[in-house]
Symmetry: C2
Subunit: 189 residues, 2 copies
């Protein structure tokens, strides 16, 4: 698992083994069963989670009581509720494991400490955040400019894996399509 983290870190900034080891001491391994929650709404999200294995979703319950999925997270992604983490306010979102999941968790305070000890981390997290920003912006564009059908097939084409691992109604929620209409879309392929 440390090796996996090391590979990931070195994709962006090169770290010595000592630095990786040190960073690793700030992290906590946590495992979650299917359907278990990493975060519940109303809680403060005080950690970032690096997913080493499994699949999670972050979602909220809207005013009509319906689940709205904002993100999925898979292996080698960070997941957190950024708003709650950054601004230090209660989360409006849940984060839940959809498969048995293992993460490396780091709290905000530990992360600050790690930044002090290993300044390069500051750079790493800047870069990661930039990449996340680009990703979310692309998603944004997808929503604003494409029909339901296009959004669905865009997803399926880019991450065919997903359609296997995630139930259809969750994909519908993520893409902001009603489950019935997604069914319709698939029929008329």
């Amino acid at each position: 698992m440390k090796q996996q983290l090391s590979n990931y870190l070195n994709r962006y900034v090169s770290f010595t083994e000592t630095e990786v080891d040190l960073f690793y001491t700030y992290l906590t391994v946590k495992t979650f069963k299917k359907k278990e929650h990493l975060l519940k709404d109303g809680q403060h999200c005080r950690e970032k989670f690096f997913i080493t294995e499994g699949l999670v979703r972050s979602y909220k319950i809207d005013s009509k009581g319906q689940e709205k999925i904002a993100h999925f997270g898979i292996e080698n992604w960070w997941i957190t509720n950024m708003e709650s983490f950054v601004i230090d306010k209660p989360s409006l979102f849940y984060i839940q494991a959809l498969e048995p999941t293992t993460v490396l968790a780091i709290s905000k305070s530990k992360l600050e400490m790690a930044f002090e000890k290993i300044p390069k981390l500051e750079r790493l997290f800047r870069i990661i955040t930039e990449n996340m920003f680009v990703a979310i912006e692309r998603k944004n564009e997808l929503y604003m400019k494409y029909s339901s059908k296009d959004r669905y097939y865009n997803l399926v084409d880019h991450i065919p894996d997903f359609a296997q691992r995630v139930p259809q109604y969750m994909i519908a929620s993520y893409l902001d399509i009603s489950p019935e209409y997604l069914s319709e879309i698939r029929k008329n392929k």
Copy 2:
């Protein structure tokens, strides 16, 4: 202008006057007339712009030849095409001044140099990017869960200023509403 920058920087991380002065040497003041472009599509976006005065938009032309506005930028905001800047590929977006605009521009290479000289900047830009991430995520949510009408009044309530400074059809584009329908919405207030 240096003072304005200094105030901005110190909102997030505290810098000495010397550090601000040093950072300032990496920046270039640029001014743009109304309708002038800071960036055109097809160009590589190699700079970040800190707006000290004025108003800009970033937009693309979609497959039907229509303008789609992705962001606005006002005083004390950074604007760039993050995707083009980070991944170093041609931009799909234009950035254009909607009012006479003054920016402090910094190129990618100069920014890298500045990071070396003033490590705290690395932290600053991480924090800025996190904040931008939170902002874009909120916008995302707005699109996914609210009607055209709600999106419009959400904007008007939050940034009443905007509705004054920006023509209505641009607000429509930004909110992903047809100009005609936005007109309809306003009529039936």
